[in-house]
């Protein structure tokens, strides 16, 4: 049996896509788990997206706690004799999976980018060493637990004709000694460039100081964001204070994504952002040096590209 659990629907659909493929190869059933929410419609949907069976679990616990979810899932895994367990790799899943693995004395691989079955063995791939390498690993324990990050696999197309079993269950857990006493939404105000996960950086391609708002609007689409700039914007024009200046004499940054907008890509600027995971360049000059240093680029006028990009990202998120 292949068992899949994620607290988020979209991630669950993606996992069911991959889970279906793995279950077929193993010639086993694919089971989805929904905890604490008697949502039959959701269970139906999971079946349409590839699940053979859905456990709908009623329980005495209220909010997610790894200690308690470990008890719930352990029972289900043992009962269903699951050999492969996929857990959604959000923050909850990442603390649940290893705890569950410890309980089952099982191998666990975190944040897999690929999973396949080779001669009956579960083979996983994940990036290690800050993205510098990929480790291919084989699970040797009776059960294998794998966490799956979002956007790694594609969901199947919904098949409204698919049939499956919805099994309601009540599982009571020993409550954890820990208590949740408060939950606060985190404010996503900007952060400084050196800590930023996403930086939108402005260069001489911007005509006026006011237009930097366009970059801010793009940045606003992301968490842990910051506005950066090249030397002229800060040192020469004083449109942005020095703490935004990315470059050799400015700040050295290494965000997950660096948008270089209207930046030509002088070597001093490159030296400050070279360690970014992904570099996206937007520039109207197709010969701009920045494109040599970019993973993705759009040759075009930033005043046309940015508004469309902001809309497109907004739409993609929903």
């Amino acid at each position: 049996m292949v068992l899949a659990y994620a607290g988020k629907k979209q991630l669950m659909l993606e996992m069911l896509g991959k889970g279906r493929e793995l279950a077929n190869e193993l010639e086993k059933e694919l089971t989805a788990v929904i905890v604490g929410d008697e949502n039959h419609a959701l269970a139906e949907e999971y079946i349409q997206y590839g699940a053979d069976k859905v456990f709908l679990i009623r329980t005495n616990q209220e909010m997610f706690k790894a200690e308690e979810y470990t008890q719930i899932l352990t029972g289900l895994i043992e009962e269903s004799e699951s050999e492969l367990v996929l857990i959604g790799s959000n923050k909850d899943g990442k603390e649940l999976a290893p705890r569950l693995a410890a309980k089952l004395k099982a191998g666990c691989v975190s944040e897999c980018t690929d999973i396949h079955i080779d001669d009956g063995d579960i083979i996983t791939e994940r990036t290690i060493f800050s993205g510098k390498a990929v480790a291919k690993e084989k699970i040797n324990s009776k059960q294998g637990i794998i966490t799956v990050p979002s956007k790694t696999f594609d969901p199947l197309d919904a098949d409204t004709g698919r049939n499956g079993d919805i099994i309601e269950k009540e599982i009571m857990v020993d409550p954890s000694r820990s208590k949740i006493i408060d939950v606060k939404e985190m404010e996503h105000s900007g952060v400084n460039v050196e800590d930023a996960e996403v930086i939108v950086s402005c260069g001489r391609g911007f005509d006026n100081r006011e237009d930097i708002e366009l970059a801010e609007n793009l940045a606003a689409q992301f968490k842990g964001r910051a506005i950066g700039c090249s030397r002229p914007i800060s040192a020469d024009l004083n449109w942005l204070p020095e703490e935004h200046w990315v470059g050799l004499s400015g700040h050295k940054v290494k965000p997950r994504v660096y948008f270089a907008v209207g930046i030509s890509g002088q070597i001093q600027h490159i030296a400050g952002m070279r360690d970014s995971d992904i570099i996206v360049a937007i520039n109207k000059d197709p010969d701009a040096l920045i494109f040599d240093n970019a993973d993705y680029g759009i040759v075009g006028d930033l005043y046309k590209v940015l508004p469309e990009l902001i809309d497109a990202i907004e739409n993609a998120k929903t």
Binding site: G247, L248, S249, I267, Q268, A271, R274
Partner: protein, 380 residues
């Protein structure tokens, strides 16, 4: 024989490197540009023990060996040569002679203050007409009751404006020639007639704020005489032997930084479709730099070891200082060359290293003076 640093020395290197990268590197350019004495950094160095590396623990120091000291100065200088020389002077030209030649009372009074960085130290020997030739000093000190009255002026004093504890050399007995020079511990705050003269605009090490000092009937209590009357030259020479190890370490830090900057640049700078590090002309420059730096480091550690064994180490210190400073200059020159036009503009660190390197061949004994010391020793 063992060429490995000890666990402790490795840990010290890591700690100082992390400190320098975190606290010094971000402000080094500003210190240089604004010719700013790095008071903030010095304040942060004190609790880490970096201002009293070799001072005995009973006086608030770390009581460490000289190789550890060289490691400290190298790592600091790698990020900021100005801070490096300030620390070197404070440690080896001020705290060291007080430790070595001071009375118990002097040690108790001055060493903890210096260790805590409450007051910064300076070494006031050089005068307009007395550089390498310290015997030609003109500043005088005359005993008047319980106080010496000092008159004269000093020049090129590192930290001169910002330091408060000065080791001042003056003539107490002109007729005694070299034996007529004495050393004094002067606490600027506790005396009158101490004036800071001109502040020099220098080629490099802008942060060390070098100045003239002018003494006009400056009264210093008798108990601040360091050693005996007439011990001055002996104290100065012994102190400078140790000081040279500090300057060699500073030079080494500059050289190492120049090498690292050049490696980084050459791997990233593309010409003719490939990084310039693929060109043999660049590779050979880097190889020569690395070899010189390694040799300089070995000479320096050997000299530090000799000092810790006791006895004279003038020749070893002179060799280390001569070789390290010339290695620094060469690394800086070649480093700028590797950087091409970019090496000539202030945005690149190599430009500062180039300006900072030169002084290491000059102060605390020019390269020529080191050769003099070495040749005298091998020809005797």
């Amino acid at each position: 024989m063992d060429f490995e640093l000890t666990d402790k020395q490795k840990m010290i290197k890591n700690m100082v490197r992390e400190f320098a990268q975190k606290e010094i590197a971000p402000v080094a350019e500003e210190i240089d540009k604004e010719e700013k004495f790095p008071h903030e950094i010095i304040k942060k160095m004190a609790p880490l023990g970096l201002l009293a590396v070799m001072v005995p623990q009973e006086y608030g120091g770390a009581g460490l060996d000289t190789i550890s000291y060289a490691i400290v100065i190298e790592e600091i200088s790698k990020e900021c040569a100005s801070t490096g020389v300030i620390a070197s002077v404070h440690n080896s030209l001020v705290s060291w002679p007080i430790t070595e030649f001071g009375t118990k009372a002097q040690k108790e009074k001055f060493l903890p203050i210096l260790a805590k960085g409450e007051k910064i130290g300076a070494f006031a020997a050089t005068e307009d007409n007395a550089g390498t030739d310290l015997g030609a000093l003109e500043t005088t000190a005359k005993l008047d009751g319980d106080e010496y009255v000092i008159n004269g002026s000093k020049t090129f004093i590192t930290s001169g404006k910002d330091a408060e504890i000065h080791i001042v050399f003056a003539i107490t007995d002109k007729s005694a020639g070299h034996k007529g020079i004495s050393a004094f511990i002067v606490d600027k705050e506790k005396t009158e007639g101490f004036e800071v003269g001109a502040i020099f605009e220098k080629l490099g090490i802008h942060g060390s704020v070098t100045s003239e000092l002018i003494f006009k009937d400056m009264r210093v209590p008798k108990e601040n005489l360091l050693g005996e009357e007439g011990d001055g030259l002996k104290i100065a020479l012994a102190t400078l032997d140790g000081g040279r190890l500090g300057i060699a370490a500073q030079a080494l830090g500059i050289a190492q930084a120049a090498l690292e900057e050049s490696i980084e640049y050459s791997k990233n700078r593309q010409q003719f479709g490939r990084p310039i590090s693929k060109f043999q002309a660049i590779q050979w420059k880097l190889a020569d730099m690395a070899t010189n730096i390694d040799a300089a480091r070995l000479l320096l550690y050997r000299a530090c070891h000799a000092k810790d064994q006791g006895g004279r180490f003038s020749r070893e210190a002179a060799m280390a200082k001569l070789f390290a400073s010339e290695a620094a200059m060469e690394a800086a020159v070649e480093g700028v060359q590797i950087h091409g036009g970019y090496g000539y503009i202030k945005e690149y660190k190599i430009e500062r290293l180039f300006r900072d390197a030169k002084i290491t061949e000059i102060y605390e004994g020019t390269s020529e003076a080191q050769r003099m010391v070495i040749s005298r020793d091998i020809l005797k």
